[in-house]
Every structure is written in C-alpha cells, then in structure tokens.
Subunit: 91 residues, 4 copies
C-alpha cells in the first residue's frame, strides 16, 4: 500500500501481534489448554483483527477520500471502495 | 438529518421494518413461540440494524466527506466523525 | 416462550428499550439531528440488540441444553438449534 | 484441548489457513497492493476467525454441556463458561 508512511510500521506491528496470537491458538489446540482458554484467545484474535481493519479503513478514508488535493472522481471512487467493504462484511 | 433527500424515505422505511420486527419479538416472547424462533427473529433484527447503519454511513460519507464542494476542513471533520463511530463500535 | 419465568419481564423490558431507541432513530432522521448523532444512536441500538440476543441464548442454553432432567436427545436438539443460530449469524 | 478427536485436525487446518491469510496481509501491506485489496483480505481473515470461533463453540457445547454422561454441575459450569465468552465478545 504505497500511501502508507509513518503508520505502516504500526500496521505491520498489529499484523505481527495477530500472527503471534494465531500461533498461540494452534499451540493451545495441540496442548492441554481448556476449551474456555482457547475460546477467549480466539475472541482476542477477532478483536485484534477488528482493530486492524479499523486502522486500514482510517488509512483508506484519509488517503482516498478526505485528503486535500484529490479530484472529485477520486474521492467518489475511494468512497465507493470503502462502502463496498463495509456493506459486504457488516453482518 | 438535513442533507437527506431521495434517500430519506428509504431510511425511514428501513426503520419502520425494524420497529415491526422488534414488536414481533415482544409478541413471540409473550406467546408460545419456541426459543429457536425468537433467536432467529432477534438475529434478523440485528441484520436489519446493521443494514441501516451501513446506509447511514454511506449517507454520511457522501454528504460530509466525498461530496464535491466541501472544504478540506469539512472533509477532515466528516472523516473523523465516521472513524469515531467505526472505532467505538467495531467489536 | 413458555419456559421463561422470572427473566421474562427483564427480556420484555430490554425489548421495550430497543423499541424506544428505534423510535428515537426515526425522530432524528425526520428532525435536524446530525449524521453523527444518528450513527451513534443506531450503533447503540445494535449494542442493545446484541445484549438481548445474548440473554435469549442464555435462556435457551439453560432451558434446552444444560438443565437437569432433560433427556440426552433433548440436549442434543437444543445444542443443534443454538449452533444453527450462531453459525448463521456470526459473520 | 484434550476432548478433541476427529475434529482436531479440521480445527488446526482452519488455524493454518488463517495464519496464511495473516501472512498475506503483511505481504500486501509491504507491497503495492491497493487499500481496497488489503481491506477485503482483512475482512476475509475476520470471517475465517469467526468461523473458527463457531467451531470451537460447537466443540465446547458438545463436550462440556450437552454430552451424555456429564453431571448436572459439569453442564452448569460448561454453560457458564460459554456464556462468559459470548457476553464478553458479542459487541
């Protein structure tokens, strides 16, 4: 994603944390963790994925819709892309 | 919401359908509907509320962020308002 | 839902609060509330609907799956009904 | 999770697919994928995590609540653990 600058490292750090949590789920499934422990872990992964999604939406909104200097057509396209994701996954 | 035009009737129609479904939940709780029936009904309400939210987000995005003629400051404010809602309720 | 006892009033009270919030959404759409105000209201409705769903799931789990005295077949059926709802609406 | 039998491999396979998708998000953030592409990928991760959670809930429900031969106290405890997760993360 070429428009990312200072925020790219923070997004990558989020993805790394998620990867670590997913690896922990696998270890717990293979080990003797309780069902409840694994459930809470998977719920934490979901929360982290939601947080990542929010931040990428924020990036998109700034870079492709609200940023000064974009053309009207670029803003309209950026808004449409964002709504397509929100509508498809909002259930 | 003053910027609503042709879409206002459709948003109001969505809200009316949701109100009807909520009334149906109450009837089912008072009557002898099965638990599973009520669960599916409440899940349908949630889906309808999510759909309403998506449409209001779409309205907001168009009216306050992407619309031609807004100032940079207006777009920035509109984007911030949208992100505040998304971040607060994305769990 | 015939197995509801002391909790029925509390479920009905939740449904009434949701109905009141839905009516507020309609008033705000018709009035001059800001987009952001309506978004937060609709998000609050969604939270209240999720809370209602959790409580009905709790009722179902107790009445049809975990309650002492049920037959194995009744528990299996109650569990299947619950999973059907969870799988269908977990997106 | 000691009670997993034939389903363990399928849960592990789900976790592996999620890990692969998370790695793809990182590649896309580092590469020149469009914002919209990354958003759809992250949304797909969320869907996969929700699917994993549903399956672990199904395992828990069977192993700790509905399974023939459990004591009443074991069923009550299994139901409480499940509700704790659902209530905490249903927003």
């Amino acid at each position: 994603m070429s428009h990312l600058h200072e925020s790219k490292d923070s997004l990558i750090a989020r993805v790394h944390r998620i990867a670590g949590q997913v690896a922990a789920v696998e270890r717990e499934l293979n080990g003797d963790a309780s069902c409840a422990t694994v459930l809470h872990r998977v719920a934490a992964v979901r929360g982290a994925v939601n947080g990542l999604m929010d931040e990428i939406i924020a990036e998109h909104l700034e870079a492709h819709v609200s940023r000064p200097g974009l053309t009207d057509a670029e803003r309209a396209e950026g808004a449409e892309e964002l709504l397509a994701v929100i509508r498809r996954y909002s259930k």
